[in-house]
Amino acid sequence: MAGIDPLGGVASLLRTAATQAASGTGAAAPLGETGGVGGVGGVGSTGSVTGAQDAGGSFLDSLGDALNGLNTQLNTADASMASFASGGSADLHTVMLELQQASIGLKTGIAVRDKLVEAYQEIMRLQI
């Protein structure tokens, strides 16, 4: 899991960035939808990203928040798995559910990343 953490964070950042880029090009409605998905994922930063944008906050801050949220999830799953493996008091179902939550968060991040790349490619085509 430890090796996956940074990847998850990066994916989350990329996704958030993609969402931001999409909103910047006027794709506001898709952005709003993506924000909802981010909330479900528990990343939580997607919502604050929108807020930061309204307040003129930096895109990188939002990206960092999203990354941290996902990283926290992955670290929690990692810690409870380690606790269970070392004979700690963690319940098996607690460990599995935390892994599941981290997995859903990661998938959400990847979905946002895909949207970001899509928006980026769209913009590149416009320039050509």
């Binding site: 998905v37 479900v40 319940d91 179902h93 859903i104 895909d114």
Partner: protein, 135 residues
């Protein structure tokens, strides 16, 4: 109103049912225990009781085991003067554990655990479906 709220509530149910299984297991394991942990008498059969607790911002309620209540009648007295825990009249007190009821409770707990696991699976599938919406 997060998908994770559903999972957290179901997780509380899973934990509660695990505890119920623990208690049934304890009652079954101690059906012939003539001394409780403190050594003051025969084992006392117990049953857990549960309480709803608000777990999510929008009022979703999970469950928590709040304690144990003694069940069963008076200890069963069996005449066995050679037993180290026999009283002056030669009777040994065994806990009044209703094994049939305990087994039924164990099965109920196992089934309830499965139900809560099904809820978490549904919540997970909903989240994955939601992600698919963005594709």
């Amino acid at each position: 109103m997060s998908v994770f709220d559903t999972i957290r509530i179901a997780a509380s149910g899973l934990t509660a049912e695990r505890f119920r299984m623990d208690v049934a297991s304890s009652n079954i394991a101690n059906q012939r225990s003539t001394r409780n942990a403190a050594g003051t008498g025969p084992y006392q059969p117990v049953a857990p009781f549960f309480q709803a607790m608000t777990m999510t911002a929008d009022g979703g309620q999970g469950v928590a085991a709040t304690g144990l209540v003694a069940i069963g009648g008076d200890p069963i007295r069996v005449y066995d003067p050679t037993h180290p825990d026999a009283d002056k009249q030669g009777f040994v007190a065994y806990p009044d554990v209703d094994i049939a009821a305990q087994m039924a409770d164990l099965m109920g707990a196992a089934r309830s655990y499965s139900m809560n696991a099904t809820v978490t699976a549904a919540a997970k599938q909903s989240a994955l479906d939601a992600i698919e919406l963005g594709r």
